[in-house]
């Protein structure tokens, strides 16, 4: 199944909404690399949850788990963060915790949200889990 998806992603026959998401992740990745983050892993599935991009932040020396939310158009009334529901937040945080414990990472980590609209990153929320 997973193999299958990965094949389809490279093809042009992807459904339009999945295509948007896929392009958004690419844009986010380039943005994160430009900021000096080192991309460790992408589209990591941890049980039922998925982490879009895992990067290493060399400034703070922490791992950042990034969730990318993409929109086709940059509409202030329809921002990407509207789709980050409390449930979704919990899933991302849960996935991050699982990854950390599975990989035995003892340093710091955080969960980031990267918003992409109209082909560019419009916001990068760091440490979403601060509360």
């Amino acid at each position: 199944m997973q193999q299958n998806l990965r094949l389809r992603w490279t093809s042009d026959q992807l459904a339009p909404h999945l295509r948007t998401g896929r392009l958004g992740e690419k844009t986010a990745e380039r943005y994160l690399q430009r900021k000096g983050y080192r991309v460790m892993s992408k589209n990591v599935r941890i049980q039922s949850d998925e982490i879009d991009i895992i990067v290493f932040d060399p400034t703070d020396r922490v791992i950042a788990f990034c969730e990318v939310k993409t929109r086709d158009k940059d509409d202030p009334d329809y921002r990407p963060d509207l789709n980050v529901t409390p449930d979704k937040r919990q899933h991302i945080i849960r996935a991050a915790r699982r990854w950390v414990s599975e990989h035995g990472w003892t340093g710091g980590y955080r969960v980031d949200l990267v918003y992409v609209a109209a082909g560019r990153v419009i916001d990068h929320v760091q440490e979403m889990n601060w509360e």
Binding site: D57, D60, V62, I93, G107, G108, Y109, W130, E131
Partner: protein
């Protein structure tokens, strides 16, 4: 990584020293505030995060931060810990060059706005007083609280507008703005109603003068429209100004109650609190889950005015009995016990029984004998004839200023007399003070004895009559209480139809 800062929390009127400890370990990027904080304390983390960002600081991510407010067994309320937490985070991450020696002996209080400006907090005067007791040399408060904090001598007050300004002051990049000290002898608020404007009512005016001079409690009884409320309000104008210490006491209470006006950091006028008869007992004596001062404490060193006394529920009047006697109120709740000062001059006004709805017996049930016992002066306010009101006799009525002059002189006499005791007015005299200071002529002694028998005066009433006589003697600047003084004092124990 660990930083320690000092702050204060208010319990009753006192301030307790709180150590704000901040530590961080690599982790999920969360912040936890422990140490029995309420919601406002918990929400502090959101304000601090954004305020730091708005001030241009970026805290490293991916750290689990723990803020400990010690001692952990004291409940902490309010947003006052925002500032110490923010400064602590900056110091811990070495974002600014704040050496721990620089934070030694400095206490922080302040709520942060999301843009980094500092907002008003309550109880600053109490905290400033506590600073001295704990050997803290500098107190940092929001700029609006600056004048309030600077009332307490002996500590350095820094009152910045925002977080950035504070850091610049700490790094010696700028000098703190000088704090405008509040006018030390603020103008005694011009009385709204001058006694010269009140026609007639000579006896009532005289009684209020005695009340102002000795701090005695007054009951004004009179037909509707006879001018009771007017007279009570005019009393404001003949009360002596607050001394510096009294001012500080009153300011401290208002600061804790968060009722201090921003433009008036020092309360220089005697408070005058009017309580409506629908007020609850707790609102008058104070209380609440976290005990706060009530009307009787807010009227400390001033006047507590109960209009329409007969309409107050008996339970509400009876809670006043003890604080009127003790001049302080102790509130006990599951959280603990706090004591607030409650030294008030009680002024009550009511319609006489024949005018009141219901009958005399009903009023008698409502206003208990023990409560009436605590009233020193009872005045029957007679309606002023219409012809007198129309007359243009400006010269006859005495102005508040000249009455105030007599009152101040009488208070001066009392202050000299009680210099070695811990009291300052006649009403505060205990049994021993009465024995020592109330020298009665033999004739006046005899008169008092006869009156006590005839009027069935209780021991408390008897002593209160002597205290009033002492004040009357003070007003005529006599060291000895003579017969006319006692006779006048007895006159104010008159029957207004409440005694059976």
């Amino acid at each position: 990584m660990l930083t320690k800062l000092t702050s204060f929390t208010t319990i009753g009127l006192k301030s307790e020293r709180i150590t704000v400890e901040i530590g961080a370990t690599p982790g999920e990027g969360t912040i936890t505030i422990v140490g029995l904080g309420d919601m406002a304390v918990q929400e502090s983390k959101q304000r601090v995060k954004l305020a730091l960002r708005a001030s241009g600081y970026r805290i490293p991510t991916g750290r689990s931060i723990t803020v400990n407010l010690a001692p952990a067994n004291i409940k902490k309320v309010g947003p006052r810990f925002d500032l110490p937490i923010a400064v602590g985070l900056l110091a811990m991450y070495d974002l600014v060059d704040l050496k721990s020696e620089k934070l030694q002996g400095v206490a922080f209080l302040g709520e942060l706005a999301l843009d980094g400006t500092l907002r008003h907090v309550s109880g600053v005067v109490s905290a400033a007083i506590s600073c001295r007791a704990h050997g803290i040399h500098t107190l940092v408060v929001p700029s609006v609280n600056g004048p309030e904090a600077s009332l307490v001598p002996g500590i350095r007050v820094i009152a910045p507008e925002n977080l950035r300004e504070l850091i610049d002051i700490f790094l010696d990049l700028r000098q703190p703005d000088p704090i405008m000290p509040p006018a030390s002898s603020a103008v005694h608020g011009s009385p709204v109603i001058d006694f010269a404007d009140v026609r007639g009512q000579q006896q009532a005016k005289r009684a209020l003068e005695i009340a102002a001079a000795g701090g005695h409690n007054v009951l004004l009884s009179g037909a509707p429209g006879s001018g009771k409320t007017l007279l009570a309000q005019a009393l404001r104008g003949i009360l002596p100004p607050l001394s510096r210490e009294e001012s500080l006491e009153v300011t401290q209470i208002y600061s804790v109650a968060n009722l201090l006006p921003n433009d008036l950091p020092l309360i220089a006028d005697r408070p005058f609190r009017t309580v409506h008869h629908t007020a609850s007992g707790v609102s008058i004596v104070g209380g609440g889950q976290i005990p706060g001062p009530g009307e009787i404490s807010l009227a400390h060193r001033g006047v507590l005015f109960l209009d329409e006394l007969a309409e107050f529920p008996p339970t509400v009047l009876d809670v006043l009995r003890q604080p009127l006697e003790d001049r302080r109120i102790t509130i006990t709740r599951a959280q603990g016990t706090v004591t607030f000062p409650a030294d008030v001059l009680l002024v009550a006004a009511m319609n006489p029984p024949q005018w009141a709805p219901g009958n005399a017996r009903k009023i008698h049930r409502r206003i208990s004998k023990p409560f009436l016992d605590r009233i020193d002066l009872t005045i029957d306010v007679q309606p002023v004839p219409i012809e007198d009101l129309r007359q243009e006799q400006e010269s006859i009525a005495e102005s508040s200023a000249s009455i105030l002059d007599r009152v101040v002189r009488a208070r001066g006499m009392q202050a000299r007399r009680f210099a070695k005791r811990s009291i300052c007015t006649n009403k505060e005299m205990g049994i021993r003070d009465i024995r020592d200071f109330c020298l009665l002529e033999s004739a006046s002694e005899e008169l008092l004895k006869q009156a006590a028998e005839r009027l069935h005066l209780s021991a408390r009433s008897y002593h209160r009559t002597i205290k009033v006589a002492r004040t009357i003697a003070d007003l005529s600047e006599s060291q000895i209480i003579r017969t006319p003084h006692v006779a006048e004092a007895l006159q104010y124990r008159q029957n207004i139809g409440l005694d059976t």
